[in-house]
């Protein structure tokens, strides 16, 4: 299996914020959703997911809450905070500009 392209630095944070912007989820659900939304192009190992979540939590962008799941287990649910939502908007804008710029450069016609 060829190694999937590494996530660009900081993009995992952006993805996680975006996913949580849609709805509060627990860690396992986030890992499923990640695979689901990005296909198999962006592979995020379970190993790197949790440290990233904890970092976002410590920075105050997301907050966590212990809730009972449908199968009656306690799980830690993450949701976006108000500052986190603003942060996401800013980062998304940045990402849009960056992506546009790079795709512009990549498509330059060679003469």
């Amino acid at each position: 299996m060829s190694k999937p392209s590494d996530l660009v630095q900081g993009t995992l944070d952006l993805l996680l914020l975006k996913i949580l912007a849609l709805q509060p989820l627990n860690g396992f659900a986030i890992s499923l959703r990640l695979k689901q939304v990005s296909g198999d192009v962006l592979q995020v190992s379970d190993g790197s997911l949790y440290p990233a979540l904890h970092k976002l939590e410590q920075e105050g962008w997301i907050t966590a809450e212990w809730k009972t799941t449908e199968n009656n287990r306690r799980a830690k649910f993450y949701s976006l905070t108000r500052p986190g939502r603003k942060h996401l908007e800013k980062e998304a804008d940045n990402w849009g500009r960056l992506a546009a710029a790079i795709s512009h450069v990549v498509r330059l016609k060679e003469t």
Partner: protein, 897 residues
């Protein structure tokens, strides 16, 4: 960060700080939940239970490692790690008390020695005088070439004449004020007992220029530098308290200063000092008309203080003063040719005046070496201990501890060690200073310096820096070694301690060898200082200092203006003293041996002088008839002075052996004549030489005796004399009798410097004995620490080879063979270190001679002896652990891991 975010982050911080366990538990639960769901997912895909769980864990990539990463995401984790490391480190240190004690104590010794010496250096070099804007306070001095052949070498701290001072003050524009002071000693009477105290006559601007005001009362007013208006005195806080009990009503009181009545008008505050100038009282300086005449320019006795104008620096002021001095020299060539002006800040002046550079530099080098040796020792101990901990580190690394995290753990342990050792070291420093400072007693300057020496913030800061540098130094070696280690190797190596990495051995050998070389170097240095001092003390003094008491009396007051009165005063005191029981004899002399007596230029019969610069200058003593009997300076030929050698008789003189050899080689000097240069004595008749005595030392460690001559005191009385008596028993018991004999004659005269002759000689060493003792103490500490180092490393090596020794002994090696083998191993190290140290020490005589130009000690035997000492100490340090190894039971040794 904006407040909005704090709402979310603050509780998290608090939680990870104070509810760490709960947080960790939740983390654990969260990850476990994930793994369970994942396992379930794989099970649903048709995997077996075991396979599914394994796959789930693999995907996580090590649960413990992830947990650690999540914990690291907490910004306060470093604090927790630190606490954890400190906790763990302390437990480790407690668990190996031997190691801890040795490391902490050696470091305490090293840091303590450095603290002591640096606090002295701090007092000498970095203390600002306690005045406002101290850097702008300037001392202006006369300068003159040391001798005419070398114009580059200049004395630049010479006193200034009255007329020069007035010209300087009128012509210079660099200073906002200039003041003159004449430092002298004064007799104060009118209190309980007459006292002599250092003091100064100062011009009215003096206190203004320095920027100080009295604690109460006033200073000197503008008109009080005129004759007849000058009868006021200002006391120092010290004098006010010691002599007048801090009397609040002191203002207006009449004291007798040198017999003149003076009114106390002010008392200075306790903080006012002007190092290195000593004064406990100040009276107005009257520049008399005699000094202001043109010829008065030759009479240089004033110290000039000035304050720089804003915007002017020392160099600019120096340039201006040089121009002015040159102009004066051109206008008054007879008195001022070759004389310039030296400008220094008070602090610079003080440092130059103390001339403490070379001894302090050597002491600092010595303590730095001691510390270096101590650090090498700790590095070695850590190396040995960490290699024993290799497995612990490997296991921790395997369990997910980052390399950085482990290095931090090691560093924390080092810092713990060094701070414990350092704090203890500061205590050692306090104790050491307490013991050391009372020894600063060879003269008043030293006593004043001792008061300045404290462990202040500056010293503590430097000590702290030293401790930090130390921990980096001895933490580095083990850390380097660790970072090169490989996890799997670590696990293997622990298995059987047969092949220990050679690299570690090399580092240990290097450290021990270096320690030994440094110790040898220190030992040689210390022995040289000690040898020099012993040689000085043993040098033939020329007199018998045993059972001799001396004291200084300086007659003050108008009634002693006539020499006749001075003579009769001392004659009666001597009569009283000699008739006292227990006193063998008594005498007076113008100068004490070992106190650099006056020199006078002479013309000697039959000894023609062709060049002006070659006129003989000889040591001069004016002595009473009992002098030779009291000092027991042997009379080699001719006769002593008698009571009939007085002002009315034919002038006579006695010369010493060196004088006779030098100026009358192969002749009999008795009956020949000498004459003191007329510039120093008016209408001098030639004196006939009537006797020859043995040589007497003029200063401590004098190697070549100088020509000296003696004149009868009765023929040439002066006011300031030293009394000396020889007792049958302990001379110190006679100090009261001596004082009473003086006061019975005149109760207004002060008797000072009551010292035994032995003390006079010791004081004249000016701290050389202290220097030798300190160097010895530091060398001994270094040797002790190095010995501990050899012992420690050898013990460790022996421990590592227990298995091998067991095999050897099981195969039939005899214990003494094993002993020899081990000792040979250790001694190879000792010999290498000693050899290197020996080679380096060969440079020491030159280095010391460069610092101390009167150092004449021949060091050959010391340099030869020091390696022997090192080798004996090394042998002992090797023998003990080696002997222990031979007692090993082969069966136990083979099983030993």
């Amino acid at each position: 960060m904006r407040p909005e975010r704090w709402i979310y982050t603050l509780p998290l911080r608090l939680r990870s700080l104070f509810h760490r366990q709960a947080a960790d538990q939740e983390l654990d639960e969260e990850l476990r939940y994930h793994v369970e769901l994942k396992t379930q997912q794989y099970l649903n895909q048709g995997m077996s239970q075991q396979e599914a769980r394994r796959a789930a864990l693999l995907e996580m990539g090590g649960v413990e490692k992830r947990k650690e990463e999540c914990r690291d995401a907490r910004p306060v984790s470093w604090l927790q790690d630190l606490l954890q490391d400190v906790h763990f480190g302390l437990r480790l240190l407690r668990k190996s008390p031997g190691f801890t004690a040795v490391a902490v104590l050696t470091l305490a010794l090293g840091v303590g020695a450095n603290t002591i010496i640096f606090s002295v250096v701090n007092a000498v070099m970095y203390r600002k005088p306690p005045l406002p804007e101290p850097d702008r306070v300037i001392v202006v001095s006369s300068s003159s070439a040391v001798d005419s052949s070398t114009p580059d070498r200049v004395y630049s701290q010479l006193p200034v004449s009255g007329p020069d001072y007035l010209d300087w003050r009128a012509q210079s524009s660099s200073f906002s004020g200039m003041a003159a002071a004449e430092f002298d000693s004064f007799t104060i009477s009118g209190g309980s007992t007459p006292e002599r105290a250092s003091g100064a006559r100062v011009s009215p601007e003096f206190f203004n220029v320095l920027g100080v005001v009295p604690a109460f009362g006033r200073t000197i007013l503008a008109g009080e530098d005129q004759p007849g208006h000058d009868q006021v005195v200002i006391l120092s806080d010290e004098l006010w308290k010691s002599e007048f009990g801090g009397d609040q009503q002191i203002l207006g009181r009449l004291l007798k200063i040198n017999g003149n009545p003076c009114t106390v008008v002010g008392v200075m505050s306790p903080g006012f000092r002007l190092p290195p100038f000593l004064a406990k009282l100040w009276i107005p300086l009257v520049l008399s008309h005699g000094n202001l005449r043109a010829t008065g320019r030759d009479d240089r006795y004033l110290r000039i203080f000035a304050r720089l104008k804003p915007g002017v620096n020392v160099r600019q002021a120096g340039a201006e003063m040089a121009t002015i001095a040159q102009r004066i020299a051109q206008a008054h060539p007879n008195t001022n040719r070759g004389w310039g002006a030296g400008v220094m800040s008070l602090q610079q002046y003080s440092i130059a005046d103390m001339n403490a550079g070379p001894p302090l530099a050597f002491l600092m080098a010595a303590v730095a070496f001691v510390l270096l040796i101590a650090c090498a020792n700790i590095a070695n101990l850590l190396l040995a201990r960490n290699s024993a901990r290799q497995r612990e580190f490997t296991i921790r690394a395997v369990l997910g501890a980052g390399r950085l995290r482990l290095a931090r753990q090691l560093l924390t342990e080092c810092l713990l060690l060094s701070f414990t050792g350092g704090c203890l070291g500061i205590l050692v420093g306090y104790g050491g200073l307490h013991a050391l400072l009372p020894r600063f007693n060879w003269n008043e300057d030293a006593v004043v310096l001792a008061k300045e020496v404290t462990i202040d913030g500056h010293v503590l800061g430097v000590t702290l820096a030293i401790i930090l540098v130390c921990s980096i130094f001895f933490g580095l070696a083990p850390a380097l070694q660790f970072s090169r280690g490989d996890a799997s190797n670590g696990l293997k190596e622990g298995g059987r301690g047969t092949t220990i990495s050679r690299e570690r051995h090399r580092m240990q050998r290097l450290l021990v060898g270096g320690q030994l070389a440094l110790s040898l170097f220190l030992l040689v240095g210390a022995s040289m200082f000690a040898g020099q001092f012993i040689q000085e003390m043993r040098a033939n003094a020329g007199l018998n200092p045993h059972n001799m008491l001396t004291a200084s009396v300086s007659l003050r007051g108008l009634e002693y203006f006539q020499p006749q009165r001075q003579r009769s005063f001392y004659e009666s005191v001597l009569r009283r003293l000699t008739s006292a029981p227990g006193v063998q004899s008594a005498a007076v002399t113008s100068d004490l041996p070992f106190s650099s007596p006056d020199s006078l230029p002479l013309t000697i019969e039959n000894h023609a002088v062709t060049n002006a610069g070659e006129q003989p200058t000889c040591g001069h003593f004016a002595v009473s008839p009992g002098f030779f009997a009291t000092t027991q300076i042997p009379l080699l030929q001719g006769r002593e002075f008698t009571a009939s050698d007085n002002a009315d008789s034919v002038p006579v003189a006695i010369v010493n052996e060196a004088f006779a050899r030098r100026y009358f080689p192969g002749e009999n000097p008795i009956g020949r004549h000498i004459r003191i240069d007329p510039a120093h004595r008016t209408s001098e008749k030639p004196s006939e030489i009537v006797g020859i005595t043995g040589n007497v030392n003029e200063y401590l460690g004098q190697a070549v005796p100088r020509p000296e001559f003696f004149e009868p005191f009765l023929a040439r009385p002066t006011g300031s004399m030293y009394l000396m008596l020889r007792a049958h028993t302990d001379p110190a018991l006679f100090s009261d009798r001596l004082r009473r004999a003086v006061w019975a004659e005149d109760s207004n005269q002060a008797v000072t410097d009551v010292r035994t002759m032995e003390r006079v000689i010791r004081d004249s060493s000016a701290g050389d004995d202290l220097l030798a003792e300190l160097m010895g103490a530091f060398a001994a500490s270094a040797l002790l620490i190095a010995a501990i180092g050899i012992y420690g490393v050898l013990s460790y090596l022996v421990g590592q080879r227990t298995h091998e020794i067991g095999i050897r002994m099981a195969l039939g090696a005899r214990p003494d063979e094993v002993l020899l083998l081990l000792i040979r191993n250790g001694m190879k190290l000792v010999a290498t270190g000693a050899a290197i140290g020996f080679l380096v020490s060969l440079t020491l005589p030159k280095v010391i001679a460069a610092g101390f130009n009167d150092f004449r000690f021949h060091a050959a035997w010391v340099i030869a002896l020091a390696p022997v000492v090192i080798i004996i100490v090394g042998l002992l340090a090797c023998y003990i652990p080696a002997r222990r190894a031979t007692r090993v039971d082969p069966m136990i040794a083979l099983r030993y891991e």
